[in-house]
């Protein structure tokens, strides 16, 4: 099948130069997107290092495919079929047996009505469109949807809506009638004519309608003929009136119907052979059709337009009670008939023939290759229904799952490439039990985070599906982006959500640094509402608590503020380089009119101060020896090499004040406690 494999390859010509020593190169974009550019051959060689003298075009092409679903109208198709799909998946799990079966039938009809609505809307849009190029685009879309409907309805008749004991032909007749409307159009035109039978297409309309089994209209048309009072016309009318019609309401078995029909046909034959109609050659054709004359069908083949119309018309007058399994035999005959007449059979014909042959895999396979260039919509949804109907065996395929999942993945992958339809895609992936989750992970990692809203949406999706790794990555990326924009507060909250310790630590240190430099906090709101999240890192706990200290101090709750401050120091929550600041913060508490810090607390503060000074001293001597053992005064001096660890002269002065204040406070506290104690 060399021809078919060639057919499957799309040859795309791009407006890029082809030169010697050059090649096209590609880079994957998001989903179905490739960037293609012309480049030198690979790998780069040393001699290529110099810029080449020839000026080159440096265009990059942004190539996308399977983009047909992204038009405004077809997007509606995507969204509406999505809700049908999701509902059906729910029903599959909750219903069984005949209840499920009726739901499946309903779903199939819903899909078709969505398709129909979409086609109608496209037709409306097309008729208003001025631009010829766009018109032809819409025209293509309409054609495609028509084809899809044609295949879908046939599959529905043959595989989904099966009713044993019913006449399959009635459904097939409806199928033909709804897809071939030219006969009815002609009839309407003819009827408008004052003298109907003078219309050049009068007989054509009659034949066309008759071939579709539209007996009522045929009788109406014939009654408009000038000679309708003559005997032959009356005879035909009687025959038509008598033609057995299958009604579901009649409690008639197929065998009974068959008997009735045979009687009727014998009567047609008899009247024809009696030569009742020889006066009107056209009327004779009508009766010949009624008799199921092979020759007359061949002659009027063109009125059927296609082999499958011819098939149904022939069956109607030759084997109305045909069993579904026998369809393939007649289908091949009709196809052969058209092929002999020089008509080339296309992809659509092969798909329909495969359906008549009940070869579902072939239908799906051919539809995939023929239609999926535009979109996987059709095969994915049809296969899903057929799968639930049990028509397609769910054998595990080489790629790891079954056919249904394969097709759903293809369809969903297309949706995931789209900037808004990706949310629909997520739902489809959810119903791919084997590989859907892994696909979703990969997609989520590459979906662009355009806005906070989208990021939150994605996070929600991750949470619902327990994809913690992906959720973390999203928060991290968002946090980095906020940092980049200078929105440190939002950045911190993103990092907190992702529990990203290093990043949160980094930011916290930045906040603390900022406080040290400017003496105030930014993002107070965030800090005040940290809650338990502050336990994420030591620094953050300190930052949160330290901010709480400031708040308490501002609210004049000095006791609480003092004990918090002390706790920060005594429990070593505060980083060492912040101790000076903290101790300084204690100063105002020591100078208040009432005694805030008791003796015990004051001792602890003094202890902390001592610890700090000792450390500073040790450090500075170390630093001094490191520099070259230059003799130094025992006092603490800021050394250039160790400046980060040590403190400035002014801070040192402050510490001296603090020592004094502590001593004063201690004396006050002893007095204070002494006076109250006696009780």
């Amino acid at each position: 099948m060399a021809s078919s494999s060639e057919r499957e390859v799309d040859n795309i010509s791009l407006p890029l130069p082809t030169r010697e020593h050059a090649t096209l190169r590609s880079v994957w974009g998001l989903g179905n997107q490739l960037f293609v550019y012309a480049a030198n051959r690979d790998p780069p060689r040393q001699s290529d290092g110099r810029p080449s003298a020839r000026p080159q075009t440096t265009d990059i092409l942004d190539v996308r495919w399977n983009a047909d679903m992204y038009g405004p109208v077809t997007r509606k198709l995507v969204n509406e079929s999505h809700s049908v799909f999701v509902m059906l998946q729910g029903q599959v799990t909750s219903h069984t047996g005949s209840a499920l079966y009726s739901q499946l039938k309903k779903a199939s009809r819903k899909y078709r009505s969505v398709l129909k609505a979409c086609t109608l809307e496209l037709q409306a849009v097309e008729s208003c469109e001025e631009n010829a190029e766009k018109r032809s685009y819409y025209d293509d879309q309409i054609q495609l949807l028509e084809i899809v409907q044609l295949i879908w309805s046939l599959c529905e008749i043959l595989f989904i809506d099966i009713s044993p004991g019913e006449m399959v032909l009635t459904q097939l007749l409806n199928w033909i009638q709804s897809h071939f409307s030219y006969g009815r159009q002609l009839a309407e035109e003819v009827i408008k004519e004052e003298q109907a039978d003078t219309h050049p297409a009068y007989w054509q309309a009659v034949y066309r309608l008759l071939l579709q089994g539209d007996v009522d209209r045929v009788r109406k048309l014939l009654s408009l003929h000038t000679c309708n009072q003559t005997q032959p016309f009356a005879s035909v009318d009687e025959l038509l009136k008598k033609m057995p019609q299958w009604r579901t309401t009649h409690a008639m078995s197929l065998a009974e119907f068959d008997l009735k029909w045979r009687h009727w046909r014998e009567e047609c034959m008899r009247r024809y052979e009696e030569g009742q109609f020889t006066a009107f050659s056209q009327l004779e054709v009508v009766v010949q059709i009624l008799c199921g004359d092979m020759l007359v069908f061949s002659e009027h083949r063109d009125l059927c337009e296609t082999w499958y119309h011819l098939l149904i018309s022939r069956l109607l007058f030759q084997h109305p009670t045909v069993r579904p399994t026998d369809l393939s035999l007649y289908a091949q005959e009709c196809m052969e008939e058209f092929r002999r007449a020089g008509q080339r059979m296309g992809d659509l014909d092969n798909i329909l023939l495969a359906a008549f042959e009940f070869d579902l895999h072939q239908v799906v396979k051919d539809s995939s290759t023929y239609l999926s260039g535009h979109s996987w919509w059709f095969v994915a949804h049809l296969t899903d229904i057929l799968h639930h109907c049990g028509q397609i065996d769910s054998q595990k395929l080489a790629f790891g799952s079954n056919l249904r999942e394969y097709l759903l993945l293809q369809y969903a992958s297309g949706l995931m490439s789209h900037h808004s339809l990706w949310q629909v895609g997520v739902d489809y992936l959810d119903f791919c039990p084997v590989l859907g989750r892994e696909h979703l992970k990969l997609f989520i990692e590459s979906l662009p985070l355009d806005s906070e809203r989208k990021a939150n949406k994605l996070l929600h999706i991750c949470q619902e599906r327990d994809l913690s790794e992906q959720a973390q990555s999203i928060c991290k990326v968002m946090g980095m982006r906020c940092t980049d924009d200078g929105r440190l507060g939002s950045a911190l909250s993103w990092f907190l959500r992702s529990k990203d310790v290093p990043a949160a630590t980094r930011l916290t240190e930045r906040f603390l640094q900022e406080y040290k430099e400017h003496g105030r906090f930014s993002h107070v709101d965030l800090l005040d509402h940290l809650g338990p999240t502050m336990l994420l890192t030591k620094q953050l706990t300190f930052l949160g608590k330290y901010r709480e200290f400031h708040r308490l101090y501002q609210e004049k709750d000095l006791q609480a503020a003092a004990s918090l401050l002390l706790a920060l120091l005594a429990e070593r929550v505060a980083p060492r380089d912040f101790w000076v600041t903290l101790l300084m913060d204690a100063l105002p508490l020591l100078e208040t009119p009432q005694v805030v810090l008791g003796t015990q607390q004051t001792y602890e503060l003094m202890h902390c101060l001592e610890e700090l000074t000792l450390e500073l001293q040790k450090h500075s001597t170390n630093a001094a020896t490191n520099i070259g053992a230059r003799p130094k005064s025992p006092g603490v001096r800021v050394s250039a090499t160790a400046s980060t660890q040590l403190i400035s002269e002014s801070d040192l002065e402050k510490l001296k004040f603090l020592r004094l204040a502590l001593a004063r406070n201690l004396s006050r506290a002893i007095l204070h406690e002494g006076t109250i104690a006696p009780a």
């Binding site: 494999s5 499957e8 390859v9 040859n11 791009l14 407006p15 890029l16 130069p17 082809t18 010697e20 050059a22 090649t23 190169r25 590609s26 880079v27 994957w28 998001l30 179905n32 997107q33 490739l34 960037f35 550019y37 012309a38 480049a39 790998p43 780069p44 040393q46 290529d48 290092g49 810029p51 080449s52 000026p55 080159q56 265009d59 990059i60 092409l61 942004d62 190539v63 996308r64 399977n66 260039g373 535009h374 790629f399 790891g400 993945l409 992958s413 590989l435 892994e438 696909h439 990969l442 997609f443 590459s446 991290k476 980095m480 940092t483 980049d484 924009d485 200078g486 290093p502 980094r506």
Partner: protein
């Protein structure tokens, strides 16, 4: 089916590489004109150049993005024997050079970031001035040109686990497919032909314990010679379902498996070219023995034994994985920096 939109990159010389950031809204291009350009996609879907600056004093071969978790970071490599790392300045469209790696004595031909779970690590590849050493003659005789290495957490080193014997010609590119739940790994090898190899992990010998080297059942899933001669590059899409290759015939071809796992060409992209001499014939390249190496997108080994790297025989180029220090963001996942050699 196809819609193509042209972006005028406006480089003054040939583009060597186009790289797309992980979320698909930014693109970086590099060229022989020694500059790198960064592009952003606006809400209107158009691409705008937001930054363009001279990066090197020679042709820039490759440009690549770090994962956005590390902020906006680019790495470039050039003919001028250096590789550089760039970071966008906060709040501005200005890129700062964070580091310049000058270890190479020859042109640096490839640069790649490690998978994000390894932290911010960079691998560079340089042309070797030395004659290719045939360190493992057995390999040469068996003709294997692609080796699979796997990182062992226990031993803290990379072990060679397999040699792909199916490919005997010089290799230009290798690429692991993202694993979307398959029970096997897919490896695309661009050589004289494009081959797709499936690697199915075999159960480890329990007696060997944690140090056991994983074994793979290798199968050649497909070989394509449609490119007629050399295949230069191969790359997978995000889910590892479509492979794009570019070859000496000047075409880009896309390959996809149907549900029966038959790989087929699904489309051919070609220029409608001006010179019209048909596909350019490429003379045999003398330096083809060395080829860009790649780090797979994720650990190729299944049971947590880390990731695998693919390199080539003979070792015409040396590979350095650099640890960057003195960079404010470098302390992410400190402990994971132990993983370098």
């Amino acid at each position: 089916m196809f819609a193509a939109k042209s972006i005028s990159a406006d480089h003054k010389d040939l583009i060597h590489d186009v790289s797309y950031d992980f979320h698909g809204r930014r693109m970086a291009t590099c060229s022989s004109d020694q500059t790198v350009k960064v592009w952003e996609q606006g809400d209107d879907g158009q691409w705008h150049c937001t930054a363009s600056w001279k990066t090197h004093s020679g042709s820039v071969w490759r440009v690549t993005w770090a994962h956005p978790e590390f902020g906006q970071v680019l790495a470039t490599c050039s003919f001028d024997r250096t590789a550089a790392v760039w970071e966008k300045e906060a709040g501005q469209n200005h890129w700062l050079k964070r580091t310049s790696l000058v270890d190479s004595r020859t042109s640096v031909t490839d640069v790649k970031f490690a998978p994000k779970h390894l932290g911010l690590q960079l691998a560079t590849l340089q042309l070797s001035l030395l004659e290719p050493k045939q360190s493992a003659p057995s390999n040469v005789s068996s003709g294997g040109k692609v080796q699979i290495h796997e990182y062992s957490e226990v031993q803290r080193k990379w072990n060679k686990v397999e040699t792909v014997v199916m490919v005997a010609e010089p290799v230009h590119d290798v690429c692991f497919a993202p694993n979307m739940g398959r029970s096997y790994h897919l490896l695309a090898i661009a050589s004289k032909e494009l081959s797709i190899i499936s690697l199915k992990p075999l159960r480890k010998d329990p007696a060997a314990g944690g140090t056991g080297i994983s074994k793979f059942e290798m199968r050649q899933v497909a070989v394509f010679d449609e490119h007629e001669s050399q295949v230069w590059r191969a790359s997978w899409n995000v889910t590892g379902t479509i492979l794009a290759s570019s070859g000496a015939d000047g075409f880009v071809r896309m390959w996809k498996a149907n549900y029966l796992d038959n790989w087929k060409c699904i489309s051919v992209l070609k220029g409608d070219g001006s010179t019209g001499e048909g596909p350019a014939s490429i003379p045999q390249n003398s330096v083809t023995s060395g080829a860009p190496s790649s780090i797979p997108p994720n650990g190729a080994a299944t049971n947590g034994s880390g990731s695998s790297v693919v390199s080539h025989e003979p070792p015409a180029r040396s590979m350095n994985i650099k640890r960057n220090t003195g960079w404010p963001w470098m302390d992410i996942k400190k402990d994971q920096f132990k993983l370098f050699y």
